[in-house]
């Protein structure tokens, strides 16, 4: 085989591999992703579907339950109705009232039930505890 042709074949093989990977990537990313919603949108969300909820923990609402915690969240800008949340699993250190959190879970009977160990609390870079507790 002449080298010119060999190179062409190689190029085609490499490109098709890249295209295949890209298609798989795009396809799986749309099917594997979880929709992100804010608490006010979740109040009316369909039960049985997983969502990634981003909200702000209502100060003073955090309670310890056997096997986990319960608290309420509002939209990140502090507006909207409060959504009750239950969660089991690791609670990150920065978690507390007033913090922004990301949690994956489903709505069951008006309560957002978080999947174990999916709670992410955002790291504050500034020490703003006073403002939040107010």
């Amino acid at each position: 085989m002449d080298p010119q042709r060999k190179r062409k074949i190689r190029l085609v093989v490499a490109l098709s591999a890249a295209v295949l990977l890209a298609v798989a990537l795009i396809y799986t990313s749309f099917s594997a992703s979880t929709e992100a919603k804010e608490p006010s949108q979740l109040l009316s969300a369909a039960p049985g579907t997983s969502y990634e909820m981003t909200g702000r923990v209502v100060p003073g609402s955090v309670e310890r339950r056997d096997k986990g915690i319960a608290f309420e969240v509002r939209d990140r800008d502090g507006g909207g109705e409060a959504l009750p949340v239950t969660y089991t699993g690791t609670v990150p250190d920065p978690f507390r009232g007033g913090r922004e959190i990301i949690l994956t879970g489903q709505v069951q009977g008006g309560t957002f039930v978080g999947e174990p160990d999916t709670l992410i609390t955002k790291c504050p870079s500034k020490f703003t505890a006073k403002k939040e507790d107010a």
Partner: protein, 808 residues
């Protein structure tokens, strides 16, 4: 003082602009303009150093007239954290960026002051353009002036977030930033090379070290962040595919690809377009990292508040990408290489494959990281991808990388004959086979096929590297005599770049083994135990011996003593705890604020070569909280002087009444109240010891996780070997000119080929062909040295001047 800093910063902006203008005035290589622009860069470095010094002095001396200091430090902040509090803020980070850039630019321009006369002016202009962007951002940007004055000046600052008060957290951001910034140097020189069409390997030789330093710093920064997450967050993981983590990983991956593919350009003159594109991509990713950390466009654990500079950085990325792409396209004819890859069984072909894997991995991570924005664009709703999605793609790519990490060093440049391949692959293949059999026979590694594949390929790679060291040392001994150990030291010393690279490979392979084992074979249990109770995790008995309480100036700490008894092993004690930081800063507090503030987990960790035993505790503070509520009620009654309050309250109540009447007494009264609240909180905290409540423990048995950190240290050591100045330079042997440097490079290549031949990696026939080719090239270079009297490259005014040059 803030105004002095502001003035210096303004001056720094003007200096960087004028340095860029001077450099462009000298674009035809006029010495006086180029020299002046370089002096302006030095001046910029001095100015920004002064700015950083002013900020640091303000932090150490608690000068709350700086709003930066007032918002990120306090009198109580430990001095070490005062020194490092600068980069916990956006404006401080920008100042750090600009300062490190000025240092890197100074170092790069000093090293090339007598070389690359055509490229340097353009590189200077690019470096200073970036510097002008960042200094200008601080001067003109909204709310990012590090020298903003606070008004009124507070008596105390709000302090530094205790979560960030961790040694590795203080080193982690500057490492990442320095890594990002150092990639500016090779980028700037690449642009210079493209503009002037001097696209040989000269710019690479001049900036290779900067790329390597950038790569190493970025890697260390990533690892420190992972380590912090592992020991401080009470979560037990070290990587979460968080957008900001990804943002630092992407330039590191592209940088890794770049470090490999530039070797192909240096040795074979190929992949020029690819290299130019890679460094543009790496630099853009570095900027993107800075942008993501500071913009808040993606939901991340690193939420640094709403940034105001995001759009500007995005604009810069746009300019960099569009400008560089246009430049590369317009120079395609110059970048075309006459050579082709001779054979797929050659080192350059493997480097190309490794590059594709690394770029593929970056593409996957990029897509996943920005998927929320992509999905919003196409479907209207934001949706994000979790760790399993990332794992699905990066795992096979990482395994492929390990395999090619193993194959690459075994092959010689250009081509390898079948007979040679059989010889060099025998031992690594045997090692891989043995590992496979041993793993199947003695472990449960087969439960995870990916992990099994990674272990086997890792054995292949490690055996291959071991063989490289061994045959290299043996060949050297045959050529030069001496002991085996001495020969080993000699080959490493004479080929620091190659063997340093191999050491990096060992480290990275160990690190990947650690990641594969700890992510595939981790045991993770939550135990709820009362004092005296036990549970069993992975064959080890865990007993909650007793609760602990520690009180200090900074925090109240609730912990537990755990006794862990491995099957048939010696029991050991672990003390995980949770710290609640006391409220800092001025203002009214309550007793409960001592238990609601920032908290951190101090994990109880027993590291081991086989596995880590990791524990964290979540104490049950129900009784403590009840005590707090009681105390707060009592305190209020006491202050009010309610009937039935103890006699001691009278003094306090009268003090409060006096303070109400006389404002000047208020601070004293407030201080007295805080003191009493602190005493009360401490006393209540001690009560936890008698509560006998059960606590929740998270217990993780993490196999081989220690090898992540060990591997990282080894890799850092390898990078250091590769960076170490070569002997000729260290001993002060003058390498006079660029052509001399080229000559030196050719000689080195010939020596390399001889070594490869002696080590059995090149067949006699291949060696003869290669040697003849290299000698012919060397003769060419020699001719140029003679003809140009050493100037070799550009029409220099003073070609004969001594000219220290870095060697390959």
């Amino acid at each position: 003082m803030p105004s002095l800093g502001g003035a210096l910063l303004g001056l720094a902006f003007l200096t960087s602009v004028s340095a860029a203008v001077l450099a462009l005035a000298g674009r035809r290589g006029e010495r006086r303009w180029v020299d002046r622009s370089r002096y302006a860069v030095y001046a910029l470095c001095a100015l920004l150093t002064a700015c950083v010094a002013i900020v640091e002095i303000a932090f150490v001396s608690d000068d709350f007239g700086f709003s930066l200091v007032a918002e990120h430090s306090s009198i109580q902040t430990p001095t070490f954290y005062k020194l490092t509090a600068m980069w916990s803020s956006q404006e401080g980070s920008l100042l750090l960026w600009a300062w490190v850039l000025s240092l890197a630019a100074t170092a790069a321009l000093y090293a090339t002051r007598n070389r690359l006369r055509e490229i340097v002016p353009w590189a200077t202009a690019v470096l200073m353009g970036v510097a002008a962007f960042f200094t200008g951002l601080m001067v003109f940007g909204p709310g990012v002036d590090p020298f903003a004055a606070s008004n009124p000046v507070p008596a105390n600052g709000v302090g530094l977030n205790p979560l960030l008060q961790h040694p590795s957290m203080m080193v982690h951001p500057p490492m990442l930033y320095s890594g990002y910034v150092a990639f500016t140097v090779p980028f700037a020189f690449a642009i210079g090379a493209l503009v002037t069409r001097r696209v040989d390997a000269e710019w690479i030789r001049a900036t290779r070290r900067f790329a390597l330093i950038a790569w190493a710093l970025l890697g260390i920064g990533l690892l420190l962040g992972a380590r912090w997450s592992y020991t401080e967050l009470g979560w037990g993981g070290y990587w979460a595919w968080d957008p900001v983590e990804n943002a630092a990983l992407m330039p590191w991956l592209l940088g890794t690809a770049f470090l490999h593919s530039i070797m192909v350009q240096e040795k074979r003159g190929m992949l020029k377009v690819w290299n130019a594109a890679l460094i543009v991509g790496t630099f853009s990713m570095a900027l993107l990292g800075t942008f993501l950390v500071r913009s808040g466009v993606l939901q991340s654990i690193h939420a640094f508040g709403d940034s105001t500079v995001g759009p500007y950085i995005l604009g810069l990325i746009g300019v960099v990408l569009i400008g560089s792409t246009a430049l590369i396209v317009s120079r395609l004819d110059d970048l075309r290489s006459p050579r082709r890859i001779d054979s797929l069984a050659s080192r350059e072909a493997v480097f190309l494959v490794n590059n594709l894997l690394l770029v593929g991995m970056t593409a996957v991570i990029f897509w996943g990281t920005f998927f929320p924005l992509i999905s919003e664009l196409f479907t209207g709703t934001r949706a994000s991808l979790a760790a399993p999605w990332f794992d699905r793609y990066t795992t096979p790519l990482a395994i492929g990388l390990v395999l090619f990490t193993g194959i690459g060093p075994l092959l010689a440049w250009r081509r390898v004959s079948w007979a040679t391949a059989k010889r060099v692959f025998a031992l690594p293949l045997a090692a891989a086979g043995l590992t496979l059999v041993a793993l199947l026979a003695f472990t449960e590694a087969a439960d995870s096929l990916w992990a099994l594949a990674l272990f086997v390929f890792a054995a292949f790679a490690l055996a291959g590297i071991g063989q490289e060291f061994w045959t290299g040392a043996r060949a050297r001994r045959r050529l030069a005599g001496g002991s085996t150990l001495g020969s080993l030291a000699a080959i490493v010393g004479r080929n620091r770049r190659r063997y340093g690279g191999y050491v990096v490979h060992i480290g990275v392979v160990l690190l990947l083994i650690g990641i594969a084992a700890s992510s595939s074979f981790q045991t993770n249990r939550d135990l709820e135990l009362a004092p005296g109770e036990s549970g069993v995790v992975d064959g080890r008995e865990v007993t909650y011996v007793r609760p602990t309480v520690e009180t200090s100036e900074e925090y109240l700490q609730f912990g537990a003593v755990l006794r862990v008894t491995p099957e048939g092993g010696e029991p050991f004690l672990l003390e995980p705890s949770k710290r609640y930081f006391r409220p800092t800063g001025s203002g009214a507090t309550t007793i409960s604020s001592f238990f609601d503030g920032e908290s951190t987990s101090e994990v109880g960790l027993r590291p081991g070569a086989g596995s880590d035993f990791w524990t964290a505790v979540a104490p049950d503070l129900t009784d403590v909280k009840r005590g707090v509520a009681d105390a707060e009620r009592g305190f209020r009654e006491c202050i009010r002087g309610a009937p039935g309050a103890p006699a001691e309250c009278d003094a306090l109540a009268s003090m409060m009444r006096a303070a109400a009447a006389n404002p000047s007494l208020r601070p004293v009264a407030a201080a007295q109240i805080s003191r009493l609240q602190s005493l009360a909180a401490t006393r209540i905290a001690r009560g936890y010891l008698d509560d006998e409540l059960s606590a929740t423990f998270r217990v993780i048995v993490d196999p081989l996780v220690t090898w992540i950190w060990i591997g990282a240290l080894i890799a850092a050591g390898g990078a250091l070997i590769a960076l170490w100045p070569t002997r000729g330079r260290r001993r002060g042997v003058p390498v006079r000119t660029e052509a001399d440097a080229l000559k030196e490079v050719k000689y080195r290549e010939i020596r390399d080929a001889e070594l490869d031949h002696a080590a059995g990696k090149l067949s006699d026939q291949d060696f003869a062909a290669l040697d003849a080719e290299l000698r012919r090239e060397a003769l060419d270079v020699l001719d140029r040295v003679e003809a140009g009297n050493g100037s070799g490259a550009s029409g220099a005014e003073d070609g004969g001047k001594p000219d220290p040059v870095e060697q390959g």
